[in-house]
């Protein structure tokens, strides 16, 4: 815990701000303590499309962990949001030096990614469509 705490700070984001945008360098991830954040995809000639929302207790961002460390979505703040920001660059260095720590991070993030993939596949099924 002490290894991680040294890389953590409390942060706040106001409604309608962007925590990060698609393509930006991903060197931070967030633990949402309160509020609501939309993951959006930019679509040409359209307003951004919301693919998912994250709220209290959710982890925002895994692009910091895997190369090339660029964000794949916009993170648009829907309500005033408080979060814990963790310095991804600092943590990547610690994970390289301490493989036990690295394994624990990968294990936990693999679980989050698996859950999000399952939800996305469920979303793709379009189960509420009238067509069978």
């Amino acid at each position: 815990m002490d290894l991680v705490l040294g890389c953590a700070t409390n942060v706040r984001f106001g409604k309608d701000t962007y925590i990060f945008k698609e393509g930006d360098t991903a060197n931070t991830f967030y633990l949402v303590r309160q509020g609501n954040v939309a993951l959006e995809i930019f679509a040409p000639q359209r307003k951004p499309i919301v693919v998912a929302t994250l709220g209290e207790g959710d982890v925002l961002g895994w692009s910091w962990l895997l190369p090339p460390h660029h964000w794949k979505f916009h993170a648009h703040v829907l309500q005033d949001t408080r979060a814990i920001a963790l310095d991804g660059k600092c943590l990547r260095k610690k994970c390289e030096e301490n493989h036990d720590l690295g394994y624990e991070f990968l294990k936990r993030f693999a679980g989050i990614v698996a859950q999000r993939l399952e939800s996305t596949r469920f979303q793709l099924l379009d189960v509420y469509s009238a067509h069978k």
Binding site: N36, A38, K47, I49, V50, V51, A52, T53, G55, E56, G57, D58, L78, Q79, S119, F122, Q123, L125, D126, V127, Y128, S129, A130
Partner: protein, 271 residues
């Protein structure tokens, strides 16, 4: 077995393809017309007959309410009825939600799309007998914001004491500032106590499988998890066999089953 002619009092548009019909009861009985979770067979004269869940308030003894999604010829004919028209009503049929077994427990309601319609009577029952039940958690998902049913009621239920309402859509669109994601993503925000809860689930079968899996991961017992099943129902009396589901007839033994009864059947591709 014969349909009773009943007058349509009102037809309300809920979403672009879903309408609620209010029908006058044909009998003057003083007892409740139905139990939450039961269904009627509605006959549009000259067109056909359909099984439709009753979606109204069981304590209202003067009328029956049905929420119908227009997906084919018969449902289209049903939702096109005007006030004053007559439709045939048979029933109610089926076994209903386990409201008695849920007394003294927290109630978890999980609905997808039009699946909220057969659960609405159970919600009314809990709200009208609040002291008999613990907390109520309602998790509701729909395809998009314009396909959400009963939006005003959802907001009203959220204001009730000891009641948590969480709503999500698969696709948000412009102007939607709520949750986006499938209904199972709401579980992490729900304040659940599985050891003292009874869950009632209704929606597309795939959704119900994902939801029951989540509830089991949260520690909910199979015997306390109930699903409303749907198959082609014709006679509604257990004679024709169209609705046979393994060893059960949905019309007679269901449509409500505990996960303990049918969990294994849900995984059978052939059924």
């Amino acid at each position: 077995m014969l349909p009773s002619p009943c007058m349509v009092k009102q037809v309300t548009k809920e979403t672009p393809d879903t309408f609620t019909l209010t029908v006058a009861r044909d009998d003057k009985a003083d007892h409740p017309a139905f139990a939450p979770g039961q269904f009627s067979m509605l006959w549009v004269f000259g067109v056909g007959e359909l099984p439709i869940s009753i979606s109204g308030d069981p304590s209202n003894r003067e009328q029956l309410v049905y929420t119908v999604r227009s997906v084919g010829k018969a449902t289209h004919a049903l939702v096109s009825q005007k006030p004053g028209a007559e439709i045939g009503v048979r029933g109610p049929f089926g076994n209903g939600w386990p409201m008695q077994a849920a007394r003294g427990h927290d109630v978890i309601i999980v609905a997808g799309g039009i699946g909220l319609a057969p659960l609405r009577p159970a919600i009314y029952e809990v709200l009208q007998n609040r002291a008999e039940y613990g907390r109520m958690v309602i998790l509701y998902g729909a395809r998009s914001p314009r396909e959400l049913l009963y939006r005003k009621e959802l907001a009203s239920w959220a204001r009730q004491p000891e009641t948590q309402v969480l709503v999500t859509v698969d696709y948000g669109g412009l102007g939607w500032h709520g949750h986006v994601g499938v209904v199972t993503t709401l579980f992490k925000y729900a304040r659940l106590h599985p050891a003292r809860s009874v869950a009632m689930i209704c929606g597309p079968e795939i959704m119900m499988r994902f939801v029951t899996r989540q509830l089991q991961e949260h520690g909910l017992q199979e015997e306390n998890t109930y699903l409303s099943m749907e198959r082609n129902m014709k006679c509604a009396a257990g004679f024709c066999g169209h609705c046979q589901y393994g060893p059960h007839f949905i019309c007679k033994d269901g449509p409500i089953f505990s996960y303990a009864e049918i969990g294994k059947l849900l995984e059978k591709y052939e059924l």
